[in-house]
Every structure is written in C-alpha cells, then in structure tokens.
C-alpha cells in the first residue's frame, strides 16, 4: 500500500535530517554530556577524572575569574574592531567596486582561509618581531621598539585572523541591498552620510550581527593568537582549558569551566540577538 503523501514527506525529511542529527548527537551532544558528568567529579590524585558528585569544581570557578574576564572583554572588543575594519571593506566590495572585478576581489578576501591561521599568525610574529618592522624603524633611528608580545599585537592578530568572517556576511547583506533604495534616499534629499546611517547601515544590520556573533563566539574559544602574539601573558579561557587538560590534568575543573563557558555564550548570544531584532525590526538575523 502506498504511503499517504504527508507521511511520505515526513519520512523523507527524517531521512534528510538523520545524518546531521546523528553527527551532532555523537560529536556534540554525547561529549557535552560527558563533560557535564566530569564537571561534577573530582581530580584523581595523579590527574584525570575520578567519579564523585561535588560542586567543588564550580565553587572553584572564581580562581579563573581573570580568564573569564579577559575572554569576555576581548571577544566583544575584538569583534567590534573587526567590524570597524570589515565594514568599509565589505561596503567597497559590495557597492563601490567594479562588478567586473568583484568576484576576484571577494576571492581575495577568502583566499587567506586556505592557509592555516597558525601559519598566518607565525608570519605576523616575524613581521612584528625585531627582524620585521622594528628593524625598519631602527633604520630611521627609532631603536629597540617592541611590537611583538603586546596587547596591541594580540588585537592586530585577532582582527587580521577573523576579518574574512566579518567581511563576508556584511558583504552578502550589502550586496543584497536594493540600490534603488539608496537612490530613493538621495532623491528625497539625504546627503550620502544620512543615506548611509538612515538606509544602508540599518539594512545591513543582519549581516553585521551575523559577523559579530560569529567572531565573538570564535573569540570566546581563542587561545592561539594570545599565545603566539601576546607571549602567553594574556590568559583566556582557551588557555586555561589547555593548561587544565594538558598540564595539570584536572579534567573535572576543565569540564566545569567549559560547561560554564557554553552557558555564558548561550546567554550572551540570546541577549545580543534580542537586541539585534529590536534594532533591525525583523527576525532576519541569520544565525538564529
């Protein structure tokens, strides 16, 4: 007997969703559940996990308050700096560039992604290190300038590393923007600056929010750039986790921090999305 059409559609949907669902369950839900279990356990004397039920790990969270604070500060600041740099680039690509070369220019934004961030960050170590820019400065008489292992270098690395992730969603939303709306604005007497703030910016907010959310989430887990360009002096949650799992082998505490970070991210994101909806007046924020 043939299946009823909507029953058949349900089965098709289930079949299409199943691989992704299974993947998420095995590689996201299960590990997360394991992490939650670990977070309530205790560290074995020589490291690792030992079954228990205790809130001691969570009670110990204040010992990593600095790492949480650094992470929760640098993530939005880094995302904001990325935005400041990315928006004009995306604007140029989507609105001002010659359409003939647009594809090439957009590809140029993406190309760095083909090389690992590690290698690109190492390149910055050499540019900022004594043999790089400080060497050039030395030639014009400015001696012993130190750029590497400074907070500025970390911010530079973050902006550099995450720029494409910010440019692309903004580019897409600007590219979708109906040019006649800009003409209509000018026609109604708005100077270019008013048009930008009255029409262009609000209509590209979904892209902006997507970019900010993407970069913020990834920055919350960042540890490579501060390690390489900050000289290990800037301590993020990511660094705390690496040390807890690979150095002191304190799995329960590491798990408690990771679980807490996930909770914080969910809260921060949902608040951010709510604000974005309010501002842009639609539920068009692409991530949620």
């Amino acid at each position: 007997m043939p299946l009823a059409p909507d029953r058949k559609r349900q089965l098709t949907t289930a079949a299409l969703v199943a691989p992704a669902g299974l993947w998420l369950f095995v590689f996201l839900v299960l590990p997360f559940m394991a992490m939650v279990v670990f977070a309530f356990g205790e560290r074995a004397p020589e490291g690792g996990y030992q079954a228990a039920f205790t809130f001691a790990q969570f009670a110990n969270l204040p010992s990593r308050a600095a790492a949480f604070w650094n992470t929760l500060m640098i993530a939005p600041i880094g995302a904001f700096l990325c935005l400041i740099v990315a928006y004009p680039v995306a604007y140029y690509l989507a609105i001002k560039s010659n359409p003939k070369y647009r594809l090439v220019l957009v590809s140029l934004v993406v190309v760095p992604f083909w090389t690992s961030l590690l290698v690109r960050t190492y390149a910055w170590m050499y540019i900022l290190g004594s043999r790089g820019i400080p060497n050039l400065l030395g030639m014009i008489g400015i001696e012993d300038v130190r750029l590497l292992n400074t907070p500025g270098a970390v911010l530079l690395g973050i902006v550099y590393g995450y720029l494409p992730l910010m440019i692309m969603p903004i580019y897409v939303s600007l590219e979708k923007l109906d040019r006649r709306l800009l003409e209509a604005s000018a026609d109604l007497g708005a100077k270019p600056v008013s048009t930008f703030f009255g029409v262009t910016l609000p209509l590209s907010l979904p892209g902006v929010m997507t970019g900010v959310a993407l970069v913020t989430i990834l920055l919350l887990g960042e540890y490579l750039i501060p390690q390489l360009l900050g000289g290990g002096k800037v301590f993020f949650i990511g660094n705390a986790l690496v040390d807890l799992f690979l150095q002191s082998r304190n799995w329960p505490f590491g798990s408690a921090i990771a679980v807490t970070l996930v909770v914080v991210v969910v809260i921060v994101l949902s608040v951010a999305m709510r604000i974005a909806w309010k501002v842009s007046g639609s539920r068009q924020v692409d991530l949620v």
């Binding site: 003409e183 000018a186 609000p202």
Partner: protein, 360 residues
C-alpha cells in the same frame, strides 16, 4: 538666471554614453511648467536614462540639463527640487508607512519640528487616500497601496517636478486604470510638472498632455497624444503607438496616385515623392461589409479570425493580394448582422485621407 523660467525642464543637445554604448543622442526637450509629459518608447530607447538625468542619478556626457532654468550638470540628486516615484517603488523596508513618507521631510535643514513632519506626512498620505495606514509596515501593504505610499513619499517635499518611472507597470489592469485617473487628478491638484516614463502607449496617451516618443536614443516625435496617434511622424511611431496595418505601395510619377502592391490604385494627397513607400492604415479606419451582393469597396478579402471585445470586434482578414489585415469594427458599422463569421468574404472601405504614406 534671474527671471523664473517658463520651462521646468530643458535638455540642450544632451548625449549620454556608457563606455562605448550611447544611450541617448542629442536630445533637445523642453517641458513647460505644469505639464504632464510622457516619455514613451520600447525598452532600451533611452527614456529612463533621460529621467535619471533629470533626477541627477546620471550626468550627461555632452550637453546640459536645466531644471527651472538652472544648469544641473554635476548637481547630486539630494540638491535637486525633483522627486521620483521609482519603478517597484523602492520603499524602505525597515520603516513603516509614515516613516517612509516622512523620510524626505527629515532631511530638511534646518530641521523641521517633529510635529510638522508628522502632520505633513499624514497630509500627503491623505492625498493618496492612505489615511489610517501610517503605522503599517511596508510588506503588509498591497501593490497598489505601496504605489500610493511611493507617491506620497515623493510629493511630500513639494517638488517642482515629479518623475515617475514606470509607476503602474507592476499593477493589474483594473488598478492601473484607476491609478491613471488618480495620477491625473493629483497632478491637477498639485499643479506641478509630471514626467512619466512608460513603454505602455495607452498609459502615455491617456494621462499626459504631451507625449515624447523615443526610439534608439533619439526623440522621434513630440506632440499632443491625439496628434501622435493621428499623425505619426514616422512608421515607427505609427507602429508603436496603437495598432497599424502596413501595406507596401508605390507613389506614381504624378505624385498623387498610390498603387498598392496588389495593383489597387488610390488617390493620395498631393506632393508625395514618387517611388516606393509604406502605407499605414489604422484598424479602426477601415469599414467592413459583407461582399455578398455588393460591388465596389477598395479591397476584398476573407475573414480568418474574429476576436469579440464587446462593443467592438477585431477581425483578422486575409486581403486578396495584400496578406493579413487587422480591422476593428464598431458593431453598428457591420451591416445586416452584428458579426461577420470567419470564412465569410468581406469588402474593406476606408477614407483615403486616413492613409499615412511613408516614403521608404
């Protein structure tokens, strides 16, 4: 210019090129104050380019565009006292209806009081009969309503010229007809110049008091609607504006006899240049009668199709020696019986004075 110009808009030898493509060539055009001018032509004829040069979205490559007697070359759109109703309206999706209409008012410097902005926006909405829709969002409005919002938004700044780029193209036929009347009324109420761009000859003829027919980047004819229809300047206008039957013919050496390609001779007006010519004849200039029991008539043929339109009917007739003709017959003009059936033999008569002859 000291004295106010009598013309709102003037094109002086305007040419616009995009790279190697010439969009319009040597346009000379004057639009008197308070006129309703239609720029009519097929797509790609340059009519929209002309409109955009008035709006300031394009700058002429050569020549000058004047608005109210002042040269406008290089003046950006936001410094021109003209407003445009865009094709597909280009309403701001992130604003509600009132915010859309108020947008132009908010750009005024010095700033207007918000109470004044609101009052004027509402007034404009009343003019397009959208009172009560102020807080609606754009996507909640129908096509016709969006059209009115676009109108209100464009007139709220009290421009001296309103530009309309295919304003009715997205509406269905009934709504289009209603809007045609409304636009005319609005123009009379506002007393400002309207420049309409359209490819729809019916729209152009029905609303404007001056039609400017364009083809291939040039103005072909500029005249009152009925003159464009009755006295087309060339075969293109005859073809583009209204329907027409084309007949190959020869003007005989006397310059007063027209010989159609099937050999029929007609008296023609005097002073025609002898030689090959094309004759244009409107479908409604032809009278139709059953051939049975009759002699005379200029041409004879067989009805192949009939399209019944209510008060009139359109016939496709295969005329002996000349091919297919289109004839629009007022039902009363067809004798004996209301409708002629396909397959019947008919004779076609017409007043030779209504024939337009265009030398090849």
């Amino acid at each position: 210019m000291t004295a106010a110009s009598a013309n709102d808009i003037e094109f002086r030898s305007v040419t616009k090129r995009y790279g190697s493509v010439t969009a319009v060539t040597d346009i000379n055009l004057t639009v008197p104050k308070g006129a309703f001018v239609a720029l009519l032509g097929p797509s790609g004829c340059g009519k929209t380019t002309c409109l955009r040069m008035i709006g300031g979205f394009e700058q002429p490559s050569e020549g000058t565009v004047l608005i109210d007697g002042r040269e406008m070359n290089g003046v950006p759109p936001y410094r021109r006292a003209v407003n445009m109703v865009f094709q597909h309206y280009a309403l701001f999706p992130h604003f509600d209806v009132e915010q859309n209409v108020a947008y132009g008012l908010k750009q005024a410097r010095p700033k207007l009081a918000s109470s004044e902005i609101s009052a004027r926006a509402r007034q404009a909405l009343e003019m397009v009969r959208l009172g009560g829709f102020e807080k609606r969002r754009i996507h909640e409005m129908s096509g016709g309503q969006q059209q009115r919002v676009a109108l209100a938004r464009a007139i709220v700044n009290k421009p001296s010229v309103l530009l309309l780029d295919e304003p009715l193209a997205a509406l269905d036929k009934k709504l289009r007809t209603a809007m045609q009347i409304e636009l005319q009324t609005l123009q009379r109420e506002l007393g400002i110049t309207f420049v309409l761009v359209t490819h729809d000859q019916e729209e152009a003829l029905s609303m404007s008091d001056m039609v400017c027919v364009m083809n291939a980047g040039r103005i072909v004819q500029m005249a009152k609607p009925q003159d464009v229809y009755d006295k087309p300047a060339d075969l293109f206008v005859a073809d583009f504006v209204g329907k027409t039957n084309r007949i190959m013919a020869t003007v005989e050496a006397d310059g007063a006899t027209l010989r159609l390609s099937n050999g029929t001779a007609l008296p023609a007006g005097s002073g025609l240049k002898p030689g090959v010519a094309t004759v244009a004849l409107r479908p409604e200039a032809i009278e139709l009668a059953r051939q049975a029991g009759r002699d005379g008539g200029v041409l004879a043929g067989t009805v192949t199709h009939r399209i019944f339109l209510g008060s009139t009917a359109e016939y496709q007739i295969s005329v002996d020696g000349l091919g297919d003709f289109l004839v629009t017959a007022d039902r009363r003009s067809v004798q004996e019986s209301d409708l002629v059936e396909p397959g019947e033999r008919v004779v076609l008569t017409f007043d030779p004075g209504k024939v337009h002859v265009f030398p090849a």
